[in-house]
Symmetry: C2
DNA sequence: CAGATTACATACTTATCGGTATAGAACGTT
DNA sequence: AACGTTCTATACCGATAAGTATGTAATCTG
């Protein structure tokens, strides 16, 4: 249905992926509510009507930016879950988190969008939550296998260890957004691993 | 200087502390940027000029609300630091955090204001950060004493354990804001205590 | 080259933002 | 009762929010 179009009419003068990457940085810095269309269009180097023609509206642009964020910035999650032991998973997750939130922009876009959205029943929050749910499920599965493998020296549940590790990562993201140095964040990761109960 | 005034002129028709408590709830729910003056005045039951006469402006109102938050909602911090062991401190801190963020409103006002403020160099962020710094210092001191007391079964630093425990609490607050159930939050606290290295 | 089609650029819409000017209402003092 | 003082109520301010109408420029099809 939508495969037609071809190349009729005036060609677009900007690169959609580049513009999207610029939008992602703005959302990352300012959050969904905080990012105005003026901020976005300036960073993307396009005009308002071009943005609406290419992406629909602000909300859809944000979702597209989240897609990009997931594929580019959250790639470490998959690699982390492939670690041979639960400790390895935790280590790679923490390292990935710190690398991610101290790179281009501070903090975690998921946390920023979820916490920073003014009204609790916003479609933005629901979207972010839905995305988080799938990686949570993957983490729980991985932790279940770790329990079967005897990775833990304590009787823990997969859900609890997932929620716990997620909390530490989110806390690191909060501290990063609040201005903590990379060394301080690494302290948290090191402490978590030093405490980690098992291999 | 300001002790004069007495009771000359028309008396105020609303209770300042009550209005402040209402403002706190609004800021807590929507964050600083997200709370509009319309939201605030409606919840406080007063008009705009009354708000400005009594509190100065939005920023000062927020700081007053933060004062109230600290004295009423963060009282558990002092009690937690008085626990006999580091584990006791952690337990009371985690319990206090969960009780706080699942009571009136979800999440932690400090996290919400810090993460949810659209621009990074806002006076709001600076204020929140300054307040957090003092409790951080108190926590570090307490952890130093715990190390001297031999509370820990691992070679840890007071700074690292403080940052770590703070991260877990912030993570719990994030999850609460994202809609996690109380049971899920308690899972995190229980896991943290189960893992806690020492008494 | 004519026409359809698509994108860009300027300027606009309505709504809401934080903050305030102004007028009237309620009090203590004289 | 008249006055100064302080609060409340309404209506307003300029700035900015998200989103769009309109005209023009650039491409493909015929």
């Amino acid at each position: 249905m939508e495969t037609a179009a071809a190349t009729r009419g005036r060609p677009r003068e900007f690169d959609v992926e580049e513009a999207l990457a610029a939008a992602l940085r703005v959302f990352w810095e300012k959050g969904y509510d905080g990012a105005s269309l003026t901020d976005l269009t300036e960073a993307m180097g396009i005009t308002r009507p071009s943005l609406y023609a290419a992406f629909g509206n602000k909300e859809e642009l944000f979702k597209r930016a989240l897609d990009l964020y997931e594929t580019e910035k959250l790639a470490y999650v998959g690699a982390a879950l492939a670690a041979p032991t639960a400790r390895g998973v935790a280590q790679r997750m923490l390292e990935g988190t710190i690398a991610n939130i101290t790179s281009e922009c501070r903090g975690c876009l998921g946390v920023i969008a979820s916490v920073g959205c003014s009204n609790a029943d916003s479609p933005i929050r629901a979207d972010v939550r839905g995305r988080a749910q799938s990686s949570r499920a993957a983490m729980i599965e991985r932790m279940e296998r770790a329990i079967e493998d005897g990775d833990f020296t304590l009787p823990v549940t997969a859900e609890a260890m997932t929620q716990y590790l997620t909390a530490v990562m989110q806390g690191i993201a909060v501290q990063s957004g609040a201005g903590a140095s990379r060394a301080e964040l690494e302290q948290v990761a090191e402490a978590t691993l030093a405490i980690w109960p098992g291999r």
